[in-house]
Amino acid sequence: MNIYGIRAIYRFEMARTFRTLAQSIAAPVLTTSLYFIVFGKAIGGRMGEIDSIGYGAFIIPGLVMLNLLNESISNASFGIYMPKWAGTIYELLSAPVSWLEVLCGYVGAAATKSVLLGLLILGTARIFVPYQIAHPGWMIGFLLLTAVTFSLFGFIIGLWADSFQKLQVVPMLVVTPLTFLGGAFYSINMLPPPWQNITLFNPVVYLISGFRWSFYGVADVDVAISIGMTLGFLLVCLIYVWWVFKTGYKIRT
């Protein structure tokens, strides 16, 4: 096990964040504040409770997930795309590190960053809305699991992308719509019946539902299914990355 190698990658990636600390913090804090002002106060004030939870509090888990998914994907995809783009990947390919160690470094750093950001958003939300966390352990668990899974997904996008456009296309055209349609701002029970079933094909539904359950003890789908779906997606991503490194697809000629 090349511990020094993992540590080097992890530190390198974390240093990248800390170089741009102001915008790393300011941007998500600002957007979250805007969401709370618009959805929580202006619109939410005219809405009734959902599952006996005030609307402002109801949207918190969804908002955290929204940011967690976007940040995990963009951090990890950018992290591995940059060396490919700049050509510095030669060093990674010639180093005595296994694919699992490379993953631990890149995905570990990306997940760390998005978890920190998730906690920061929760802190910001506190300024606007009082909320409780019914199952703090599970809350952290969902946060970590989602951060790792989607950092892994982002890593795959970074490996696959061969232009900055491609780097943006999956988060913009796939992840953002799925998150908005995944029950971040509503309960899927509010949808008309056929859409309630269709929406179950959206993996983000399970993430948000499980995460919301850890806050308020209510969920759109069974918590066990939420965990199972997330773990399943994690496994699929792991297998894909293993295959990429094994065959050298897109990284080793």
């Binding site: 020094y4 030669y90 060093e91 010639s94 005595p96 080793r252």
Partner: protein
């Protein structure tokens, strides 16, 4: 694994590389690099030099063949093999926003070595980078970036160092520094494999030379032997009176007239016991051919190289 110090430090057997488009970049390359030598790989652009280096370093996958580096198979025991190798790539690939210190420290860690600020400092000082240790790489000149890449390659104390076209785009001062450092590294037991277009440097630096063309290793020879084998000398006589034709009875000598007829060039093998110079001069005297000056020159590695590549084109394998 104990490694016999007399065995080659790198051993390539039957290395082939075909790219997806069908282009055959390397054809059945067998090569042994001896421990502690400076080996120069020479070849025109696209000959397969960088591909060959890429395969040994793990960046390119060989289609067939095996490579053993420092006693370890580069695929099966990739960790041990790669830990022994440092690579300075041809292109200036650097992390623009990182500081010199951070990027060199990163390289050391990536290759599995515990932090050693004293060693990193020594590497930076040796490469005249110490003053720039906190500078962002993007603010450095091309020559300084090259130094950074060398520092990164040396950060994990490799026993094998690959320098892929290290002189490309480098100023005279850095080139001198670099070659001085290469000699020091060799003196400390590091094996160095370099590719270069500056053939004089290979001639100056290398112990052995391998010539590669169109993916085939044409010749691998001790530099001195290669020079002796293929070394031709030329004697050039500047004539007082221009000549239009060479007299018939001088046909036994391989003489050529320079284009303007002002000089006569005699090519001979410097290794021969009898060079024929004395006899030639007597004959010229007998014909009343007078000359005002004479000079002799030895064929450079460049000439040898060009003739080798031509030979291999004329006699396809």
């Amino acid at each position: 694994m104990s490694v016999n110090s007399s065995s080659p430090i790198i051993s390539l057997r039957g290395i082939n590389k075909a790219y997806a488009g069908g282009f055959q970049a390397l054809k059945n390359v067998d090569l042994d690099i001896e421990r502690g030598e400076i080996f120069a790989l020479l070849g025109p652009n696209g000959a397969g030099k960088t591909t060959l280096i890429g395969i040994v370093c793990g960046i390119v996958k060989a289609t067939a063949g095996t490579v053993v580096a420092d006693g370890y198979d580069i695929v099966r025991d990739y960790r041990a093999a790669r830990a022994a190798i440092g690579l300075v790539p041809q292109e200036l690939h650097t992390d623009a926003f990182e500081s010199v210190w951070a990027t060199v420290t990163f390289s050391r860690g990536l290759f599995g070595k515990p932090p050693n600020p004293v060693y990193v400092e020594k590497v930076l000082r040796d490469l005249s980078l110490w003053e720039k240790r906190d500078a962002k790489i993007m603010t450095l000149s091309g020559g300084m970036k090259r130094r950074v890449l060398i520092a990164k390659a040396l950060a994990h104390e490799p026993s094998i160092l690959f320098l892929d076209e290290p002189s490309a785009g480098v100023d005279v001062e850095l080139r001198h520094d670099m070659w001085r450092m290469v000699r020091e590294l060799r003196a400390n037991g590091t094996t160095i494999i370099l590719t270069t277009h500056y053939i004089e440097e290979a001639e100056d630096m290398a112990d052995r030379i391998g010539v590669i063309n169109k993916g085939e290793l044409i010749v691998v020879e001790d530099k001195a032997v290669l020079m002796r084998k293929l070394g031709k000398k030329q004697l050039t006589l500047s004539l007082r009176q221009p000549m239009s034709d060479i007299p018939d009875d001088l046909a036994a000598w391989s003489l050529t007239l320079a284009v303007d007829g002002q000089s006569l060039v005699y090519s001979f093998d410097s290794q021969e016991e009898e060079t024929g110079i004395a006899e030639l001069l007597r004959m010229l005297n007998a014909h009343g051919i007078d000359f005002k000056d004479l000079s002799s020159s030895e064929s450079s590695l460049e000439d040898i190289f060009v003739s080798l590549v031509q030979q291999s084109r004329e006699t396809p394998a």
